[in-house]
């Protein structure tokens, strides 16, 4: 019998000092580190977007030179995707999956630690490129050659940072799969798993299948630049478009890697505050799985204008459209869950409903861009910027923030300040729409993305967009304040926290003991909450 187990039979034994965090093998501590790291990166990436919006406030060049502007656009995306969204999702998974399935911890705790600690080091590599000769990556987060190969000394560090982050993601994903498949409490059958757990297993499979392909792609970039290979050089028999295929084979599944955890969170929140079980649990599971499966066959909708054979354009158009079906199933189920529920609108529920509405806006514009002939107009304009920011900001970030409000009382043992939470929601919702909705208009009118200057007819909307942007950025400071306030004290939370909450995580004390479920609980239909 291990010492750790012996110890917590007697008292809740916590390691202390910096070692608690550096050497941690505890899923809650690691989850906390993931979440804090994600929040920091959210503000680092956010600061970069503020530079972008300041520059675009007026036509002409004001504050930064075009090269630096392009670095801002590129690194903003990389930081947000790999530094904020993915770690936030993994952080929630770390905290919640073991206590949702009745496991003592993650299956492979040491590897769990490494997947977290890689992140700050990987971002040190990436951000250090700002201080190198040639500056930070500026060719877009999609890293298309030949443009990206013109980067200076920062180039190898861009590639290595991607490798490093890939290692972290793959280890995290393997851990989640091993945990869910092997560590469920007796009676916690697959069809009794909370939907958040389901969306995370599916995400984990996506990660394992997609991240190595990206690693391979950037490795080929590296050898093209330094070892004379010709993968992406037509003069040597290669093809620059091939990189786009490889990148998007990763890239499209990646967008579902980002969004599925958010879907999982709102699938927990909506039933809780509707005081009804989730409508169509089984169809939810199958819909999520089919979205994930289909996501591997739609990648070239990012490349409609690149010059593909007609058969390819058509195939990828129809495949893209078909994803709307399982997505529709999910949206329908969430709405049906609320139908005739006795609903209340605490902050997590507000954010979840926000996801429902505003993700759908992004989904619809996605559908529009999925139609090959019309995408020729939308491609590389602000329309696509509007699309993916709708799915990402109110679709994913709102989901994650909803999850934070939802579980914060469980994590800290204190209720957060409901008034401030609601204020945060309304400020964010209003500003996010001021920020992103007008991008549809200027996009359709032809304003290209990734350019620091624009022609004067776009000036008014850009003004408004920038104001929305600053307002959104400032509103997020409120989140930090609510979290700090909640950690420091507040009304004590009960174990169940929310009246309508069901599931193992709500049977534990708030906050849960350092080691929970050292002996597995028994799960029956009555205690499972699907």
């Amino acid at each position: 019998m291990s010492e750790a187990v012996l110890h917590d039979d007697h008292h809740d034994h916590k390691p202390t000092g910096i070692g608690r965090w550096l050497f941690s093998t505890n899923h809650k501590d690691i989850g906390t580190m993931y979440l804090v790291f994600a929040l920091i990166m959210f503000f680092v990436g956010g600061a970069m977007s503020m530079v972008i919006r300041a520059e675009l406030f007026q036509p002409g060049l004001q504050y930064v030179d075009p090269q630096f502007y392009n670095s801002m656009v590129t690194v903003h995306a990389l930081v947000m995707i790999f530094g904020a969204l993915m770690p936030a999702g993994v952080g929630l998974a770390n905290w919640m999956i073991p206590i949702m399935i009745g496991a003592p911890d993650m299956a492979l705790p040491r590897m769990n630690n490494m997947s977290f600690w890689i992140l700050p080091f990987a971002f040190t590599l990436l951000l250090s490129t700002f201080f190198m000769q040639g500056g930070a990556p500026a060719g877009g987060w999609t890293m298309y050659p030949p443009l990206v190969l013109q980067l200076g000394d920062g180039f190898p560090y861009l590639v290595f940072a991607v490798h490093f982050l890939g290692i972290s993601s793959i280890m995290g994903a393997i851990n989640i799969i091993a945990t869910v498949f092997n560590m469920r409490a007796p009676g916690m059958t697959f069809m009794r798993l909370p939907l958040f757990v389901w969306t995370w297993i599916i995400t984990a499979f996506l990660l394992i299948a997609a991240m190595p392909v990206l690693a391979g792609g950037v490795t080929m970039l590296l050898t093209d630049k330094y070892f004379g290979t010709a993968f992406f050089d037509a003069a040597g028999g290669g093809d620059p478009v091939m990189f786009q295929h490889i990148f998007w084979f990763f890239g499209h599944p990646e967008v579902y890697i980002l969004v599925l955890p958010s879907f999982g969170v709102i699938s927990q929140i909506i039933p809780t505050f509707s005081r009804k079980p989730l409508f169509g649990y089984t169809s939810m599971v199958y819909a999520t799985a089919s979205i994930a499966f289909l996501s591997f066959f739609v990648w070239a909708h990012h490349m409609f204008t690149v010059g593909m054979p007609l058969a390819g354009e058509l195939f990828f158009m129809y495949a893209t459209m078909s994803i709307a079906v399982p997505t529709g199933v999910k949206i329908f189920n969430w709405m049906a869950t609320m139908w005739r529920g006795s609903m209340t609108f605490e902050t997590p529920m507000l954010f979840a409903i926000g996801v429902l509405f505003m993700f759908s806006i992004g989904g619809f514009s996605g559908l529009m861009m999925g139609i090959t002939p019309v995408d020729f107009q939308y491609h590389d304009t602000y329309f696509i910027v509007a699309h993916f920011h709708y799915v990402i900001v109110p679709g994913i970030i709102f989901g994650i923030i909803g999850g934070i409000y939802f579980w914060l009382p469980k994590w800290t043992g204190n209720m957060y300040d409901e008034k401030l939470g609601k204020l945060h929601f309304w400020l964010s919702t209003i500003s996010v729409n001021v920020l992103f909705f007008p991008m549809h208009f200027i996009g359709l009118a032809g304003m290209p993305r990734r350019i620091p200057d624009y022609s004067v007819q776009f000036a008014d909307w850009n003004n408004i967009i920038s104001i929305g942007g600053f307002a959104f950025g400032l509103s997020q400071l409120l989140l930090v304040w609510v979290v700090i306030k909640c950690v420091r004290g507040g009304e004590k939370a009960t174990d169940q926290v929310w009246e309508g909450a069901h599931g193992l995580e709500w049977t534990l004390s708030s906050p849960p003991p350092f080691h929970s479920f050292t002996t597995p609980p028994k799960v029956t239909d009555a205690t499972a909450h699907s």
Partner: protein, 296 residues
């Protein structure tokens, strides 16, 4: 032992993960320095990083082996390791898939496109380009008076010479590792060790033959990384494969040492199986290489 059967082993806080992270970090910094031309300092940083990575593997696995021998792992922990290894191998499969994808894409799509007469690149840039595979002459070599960035290949390596021998060697090693497994299950340690030793030997012979083949390609055939897309796909695929064989053979050697020390029993030998799975995976990748890189 009986106790550990109902509690899952959660390791105490460990320093290995952070050591590993820093080791990789240092190696990446060094690698970047070397690539950027700061070779003299870079190679030391890279060397320190790689040494630290080796130290990490040694230290981390030593902890795991000690825990295993102390009987801390119950059946359930064993299954976690199995899930972990299986999906790790799958991620490796997807890594190779990127390079196989590049090979198929160039062979089936982009090179034929470059050769199409109605194609603009053909009309305006390289009208004399011939779309053939193996691609000995890259498009930019077809213009008289312009020096190509790439090196024309004299000849490629035929499948039915050394590569066929290497196929036989790897397939044989797949068989010997299975015989070793059978011996282990029967509790016959001597046979286990001999079959394992044979497998390790075959693995290193493969690597040696691959290295001589590379020498031949570079010195006599002008088949190099710089030989256009044929050389690129050839060396990327065979290079990463060769690296994986080296890793696999090294792991097998460790397993051999552990077998000689009697670490494994007929029902408790996950480490052996994990390495054997890995070995079969390298084997299968090679079959793909043999067929699509060398043969057809």
């Amino acid at each position: 032992m009986s106790d550990s059967n109902d509690t899952y082993f959660i390791p105490e806080p460990s320093r290995w993960p952070i050591v590993g992270t820093i080791a990789l970090f240092v190696a990446f910094i060094g690698g970047g320095m070397v690539l950027n031309g700061y070779i003299n300092n870079g190679q030391y940083v890279l060397g320190i990083g790689v040494a630290a990575i080796i130290y990490l593997f040694y230290g981390w696995f030593k902890d795991v082996i000690d825990e295993s021998i102390a009987g801390k792992y119950n059946e359930q922990v064993d299954i976690s390791f199995r899930w972990g290894m299986a999906w790790f191998i799958f991620s490796e499969v997807m890594f190779f898939a990127a390079f196989f994808g590049a090979l198929f894409y160039t062979r089936v799509l982009s090179i034929p496109w470059l050769g199409l007469e109605e194609n603009v690149s053909n009309q305006f840039l390289w009208p004399d380009f011939q779309a053939v595979w193996p691609l000995l002459t890259t498009p930019d070599m077809t213009i008289a008076g312009v020096e190509s960035k790439y090196m024309a290949i004299k000849e490629v390596i035929p499948a039915w010479g050394l590569p066929a021998w290497n196929t036989a060697i790897l397939l044989a090693s797949g068989a010997t590792v299975t015989f070793a497994h059978w011996a282990l299950k029967k509790g016959n340690r001597a046979a286990l060790c001999w079959w394992l030793a044979a497998t390790v030997l075959l693995g290193f012979i493969f690597v040696y033959l691959q290295a001589t083949e590379y020498g031949h390609a570079y010195h006599e055939l002008d088949l190099t990384m710089k030989s256009g897309v044929y050389g690129s796909t050839f060396f990327m695929l065979t290079g990463f494969h060769g690296f994986h064989v080296t890793m696999g053979a090294t792991m097998l050697a460790v397993i051999l040492i552990r077998s000689m020390k009697g670490h494994f029993s007929d029902h408790n030998h996950f480490a052996f199986e994990a390495v054997a799975w890995y070995w079969h995976f390298v084997d299968v990748v090679w079959l793909g290489l043999f067929v699509f890189v060398y043969w057809i």
